[in-house]
Amino acid sequence: MQTGKASAFNTPRARFALRIPLPPSVTHYFGRKLFLFLLTIQGLGAFGLITLGVILTKFRVARHVVWPMVFQETARAGLRLLPMFLFMAAALGLLVIGQSVSWLTRVGAIQYLGTIMVIVVVRELGPLLAALLVLARIGTANVVELGTARATGEVEALEALGIDPIHYLVVPRVIGLALGVFSLTVYLIIGAVLSGYLWAFLQDVPLRPGDYFRQLTGALSGTDFALLALKTLAFGFIIALVSCYHGLAQPLRLEEVSSATVRAVAQSIIACVLLDALFIIIYLSA
């Protein structure tokens, strides 16, 4: 394997390409980007560990103040997004089933309809779509709220009153978003599976509900449930962490809030996709 890989760069053309000197402006650009990327990873890692520490050590501190906020954030990142998610579930069912039914009937593989639903919706599209929708609706709001709070001195006011800003501002959002993404994914999957059958039914696919259900359960395993829970909680945690980090962790001026929001969205998406890739590796190796 090693020699095979090495030989790919050992052709005369590749050797020539590798010898081309890059202009310093290009190397500096990528070097700077890499350095900033590493700094962000370091900052996010530290912020994540601090937040986890605060969740564990201050679990019972000021619970009459913080727990209602956790419920509020969970409702905001969960329950209140439900109508939009039911619409998305109907659309997702149509998307997956509408495309695959015509193809599967042509090759006579309609018994794989349930399996396709599980692979596409349960394992991949459901969690990722839920995470991206929650990022768009709640993650961005988080950055703007916390960025404004930071820029207008609310964070200093909290510190002056001896209130831990991480505990008061970040912890409810992290827990709320993690639970929100998890529960919305479950609803999204259930909705997509049901609407998938509906669309198949409307296209006159000869598939009885019992058979469809058996196909689904046959394709699902215990690992799916465990990894789904883990993955969606991790998505929510990461989105909340990245959005709170960009809103809160560095001093901000009001005019910088919008660029912080843009940064947070981009980094959240990258982080979620990287995490998703990690879970694919776990799936494949499990």
């Binding site: 619970r63 404004t148 207008t152 510190e159």
Partner: protein
């Protein structure tokens, strides 16, 4: 309920050769070689024009940033005290911000109640009895259920004062309390701060040590007992009003309105 060390005999605040950085940019220095002692019961006025770093000095004194150099002791303990275990010490000092710095997603009532609710884990109902006297004393009743953006600046500042007083501090730092206020509110602030300094019923009649900043020292002439001036990155302690007047005609000139200075 009184903190065990309420009757401190030593100085409340002591600074030796302290360098004060700017809150906006920690590498920028706004004042150097600050030597300052605040004793219990003092009423200090720190005068300085806008941009001389009065707020930064106050924020540093309030423990929001460490001194860039030198030593600062609060109630005999060297600052900064960011550890959780020394929270009680930090809360003996209260800080009122210039613009109130209220929490925008909370109503005025919730702003005032937040510190006691958080530190003593109170429900809204439990906190209500404690908040009520503060709401009344600050004449904030009509604004209790409004969010800060719906409240005028004059009243926002009072919410900030009530919020800082809720934790019953022993020393209160007030950043530019009179800046941008109507004359009626100026008189209210002067009389309330005067009462707080002598011992207000809200704090159980215990005299409060006060430090206020201002761009114009004259309204404080009969009220404050100690004066200091921030100018050219130096903090000059001048003692009483008489000493302030005697010390420098030029310093006093700068406390006067712009048209006088221009002439």
């Amino acid at each position: 309920m009184e903190p065990p060390t309420a009757q401190t005999t030593g100085p409340v605040i002591r600074m030796e050769d302290v360098t004060v950085a700017s809150m906006q940019d920690l590498s920028a220095v706004v004042a150097e070689a600050v030597d300052w002692t605040v004793n219990p019961g003092d009423f200090w006025v720190v005068a300085g024009l806008q941009g001389t770093g009065k707020s930064d000095l106050l924020m540093m004194t309030g423990g929001l940033m460490p001194p860039a150099a030198g030593h600062y002791w609060l109630f005999g303990e060297e600052m900064p005290v960011f550890e959780e275990s020394r929270l009680a010490l930090r809360l003996r000092l209260g800080l009122v911000f210039d613009g109130g710095q209220l929490f925008n997603h909370l109503t005025a009532w919730e702003n005032i109640a937040l510190p006691v609710r958080y530190h003593r884990n109170l429900t809204r109902a439990d906190a209500a009895t404690e908040v009520q006297p503060f709401l009344e004393a600050m004449e904030l009743g009509p604004w209790a259920d409004s969010t800060p953006s719906a409240i005028g600046r004059n009243w926002r500042k009072r919410v900030g004062l009530a919020r800082a007083l809720m934790l019953k501090p022993e020393v209160l730092l007030v950043d530019s309390p009179l800046a941008g206020l109507d004359p009626r509110h100026v008189n209210w602030w002067l009389s309330v701060l005067g009462e707080l300094s002598k011992g207000h019923p809200l704090l159980g009649g215990r005299p409060l040590t006060l430090v206020v900043t201002t761009a114009d020292a004259r309204p404080w002439k009969s009220l404050a007992r100690q004066f200091g001036v921030l100018k050219n990155r130096r903090f000059v302690v001048l003692g009483t009003w008489a000493e302030l007047e005697a010390a420098s005609e030029e310093l006093l000139q700068e406390r006067l309105p712009a048209e006088t200075r221009a002439g």
